[in-house]
């Protein structure tokens, strides 16, 4: 057992999803107070989704506390004293749950794409580097930060511990589905989490679910499916993300071309140059990014200025369905040429965006399925893979759904005061 230390009095946070988040371990309290963890208050959980669902202003801070609380309930209320569960891993699990998203940056999906970064590398760097988080973890033991980093990176030898934080039915997913549904105001993200927690059982390599809880798990999987297509992959949210990504691309290109910014991108320099330090990374949050977008609306470069105005004032791109067959690719090339003729740079204003999700899958022995399936614990003690028992889950198992859309600035095309013929031709092609 780690010499963790307990607070004199339990602390609680009010939370709209779990009602209360309970903290009695000193290290958890100390971690929450670190500047690296407090930074998560300034990073939205759902990036640009607030431009579609105005309630989606919640942060990664809320979510991280939520994941911690779910793990705490599993360990303290369900697993304690059960076979296969080593209670000396409790504090490690709690810390990994709390810190699992620590390396997320502002609008991380777009940022990572443009600058080829991985938030998981930064999570590790914060945990093992010279940070307040590292100091708090080292108070437990000198190798404790490394262990926490390993659990989050899924390289910790105790697979049961890893599966609590990362699997097809883990605390991370359970919290974000419920929380994102609550804040976006949609009803289909709900499922009976209390029921799932009560029927979870530890096994040597992973968590399994008692057969009697199968219907609650079916509900969870369907909630996940609905949330991905109704919220996470909403085409309007993706439009905002396309614009955000193009702003970053444009700013980087201008910097590389030696353009003289009116508002110098001081916070972005190391990102443009590809030598980002941990301090640079931690200095960026959404407030900083939005400050630049506000300022860049007034830049002389018409593309950067226009894209920033679009983002700030929510004048997003429109979209049409796009199925990338060879025939459609030929059309896309034609469109690209016509955009150039119309004086609209296709590198920034004609964008194919793809979203894809696999709601549930099971591991096929010997091949690279890589997804640990959800197992049901049958009354006779045997384990059965979920889709073999559930007709509902079987129907969607291994079935990936993909959606491609072509984004463009319809307002530019509707303005027929210039390049009328070309723009009309573009609209004809886009309407198909």
């Amino acid at each position: 057992m780690y010499p963790g230390g307990q607070l004199h009095e339990e602390k609680v946070f009010k939370d709209p999803v779990h009602r209360y988040i309970h903290v009695r371990d000193k290290v958890i309290w100390d971690l929450i107070g670190t500047k690296e963890f407090q930074r998560l208050r300034r990073i939205k959980q759902l990036g640009t989704t607030y431009l579609t669902f105005h309630g989606a202003e919640h942060s990664r801070f809320n979510h991280s506390l939520g994941v911690y609380e779910i793990i705490r309930r599993i360990l303290d209320d369900v697993f304690v004293g059960r076979e296969h569960w080593d209670h000396s891993e409790r504090l490690l699990c709690l810390c990994a749950a709390l810190l699992h998203d620590l390396g997320h940056g502002p609008f991380s999906h777009s940022f990572e794409k443009v600058f080829h970064l991985d938030h998981e590398d930064f999570t590790r760097a914060i945990i093992v580097g010279d940070t307040e988080v590292n100091a708090a973890l080292r108070a437990i033991d000198s190798d404790f930060p490394q262990k926490v980093a390993e659990v989050i990176a899924k390289t910790y030898p105790n697979k049961l511990v890893v599966s609590l934080i990362s699997s097809q039915i883990d605390a991370d997913r359970m919290d974000y589905l419920l929380r994102d549904a609550y804040y976006t105001g949609v009803s289909y993200g709900y499922f009976d989490m209390e029921r799932i927690l009560r029927v979870m059982r530890p096994r040597e390599d992973q968590v399994v679910i008692k057969r009697s809880g199968m219907h609650a798990v079916e509900d969870y999987i369907m909630s996940r499916y609905q949330m991905y297509w109704q919220v996470y992959f909403h085409p309007v949210t993706r439009s905002a993300e396309v614009i955000l990504t193009k702003i970053l691309h444009r700013a980087k290109k201008l910097y590389e071309d030696g353009y003289s910014f009116q508002t110098k991108p001081v916070h972005f320099l190391s990102f443009f140059e590809g030598n980002v330090t941990l301090d640079d990374y931690l200095a960026l949050d959404e407030a900083v990014i939005l400050f630049y977008f506000q300022q860049w609306q007034h830049e002389r470069d018409p593309i950067l200025s226009d894209l920033c105005q679009r983002f700030v004032h929510r004048r997003l791109f429109k979209y049409t369905e796009f199925h990338p067959t060879n025939e459609q690719m030929t059309k896309l090339i034609e469109l690209t040429n016509l955009f150039k003729k119309a004086g609209i740079d296709p590198d920034y204003y004609l964008v194919v965006d793809s979203s894809s999700d696999l709601p549930y899958d099971f591991y096929r022995p010997g091949e690279e399925g890589e997804r640990l399936p959800i197992y049901l614990l049958m009354p006779n003690g045997e384990l059965r893979e979920l889709s073999r028992e559930s007709v509902l889950v079987d129907a969607i198992s291994g079935k990936r759904r993909t959606d491609h859309k072509l984004y463009f600035p319809a307002d530019f095309l509707y303005d027929l005061s210039t390049k009328r013929t070309v723009k009309k031709k573009i609209m004809e092609i886009l309407k198909g």
Binding site: A153, P324, V352
Partner: protein
């Protein structure tokens, strides 16, 4: 547009045919670690570095008819083979850029079996650690594969060989 899809197709075109999903995953991961511009995110899973994004891309390419996937029943499991279709070759003609050195690298890797490439990919995943620690990690996380010290040394040599060969080719 769909550039990342095209890169995966270029890799497959260079290899000719890749047998096994595991092998395909490890080949792309190793190429990424050799600084070829593949941007799929990889996590550590059962068989070492694995990318859900790459799985997704391959499934999409199959659904679009650009890749051909065949399933072969082996004793107790199914093995997949991937090749480029004619439509895929036609699609690739829209992308007239190349990745210097990639063809050679993919061909060299394709001569190895999935078990060895899994080891090479795992060594690369932990390459920020000293060799002794990498060996400990492999013993701990890959105990079922029972890799020997000789195999691990061979993996290190193989990585060196790939790096020098690919860099040389990229400079030509």
């Amino acid at each position: 547009m769909l550039t990342e899809h095209a890169k995966v197709m270029k890799a497959l075109a260079a290899a000719g045919e890749i047998t096994g999903r595991k092998k395909l995953q490890k080949m792309i991961y190793i190429a990424k670690k050799l600084d070829f511009p593949f941007y799929e995110k990889f996590d550590f899973h059962f068989y070492g570095p694995y990318s859900e994004e790459l799985t997704c891309r391959v499934e999409e390419l199959c659904a679009l008819g650009f890749l051909h996937e065949t399933k072969e029943k082996k004793s107790g499991y199914v093995q997949y083979r991937y090749t480029l279709t004619e439509a895929g070759e036609q699609f690739l003609r829209h992308y007239d850029w190349g990745m210097p050195g990639l063809d050679e690298c993919m061909q060299v890797m394709n001569e190895q079996n999935a078990r060895f490439l899994e080891l090479v990919a795992t060594v690369l995943y932990f390459e920020h650690l000293p060799k002794d620690e990498v060996k400990e990690k492999i013993a701990l996380l890959k105990s079922k594969q029972r890799y020997t010290d000789e195999e691990i040394e061979e993996a290190y040599e193989y990585i060196e060989m790939l790096r020098s060969q690919c860099n040389k080719k990229a400079r030509v």
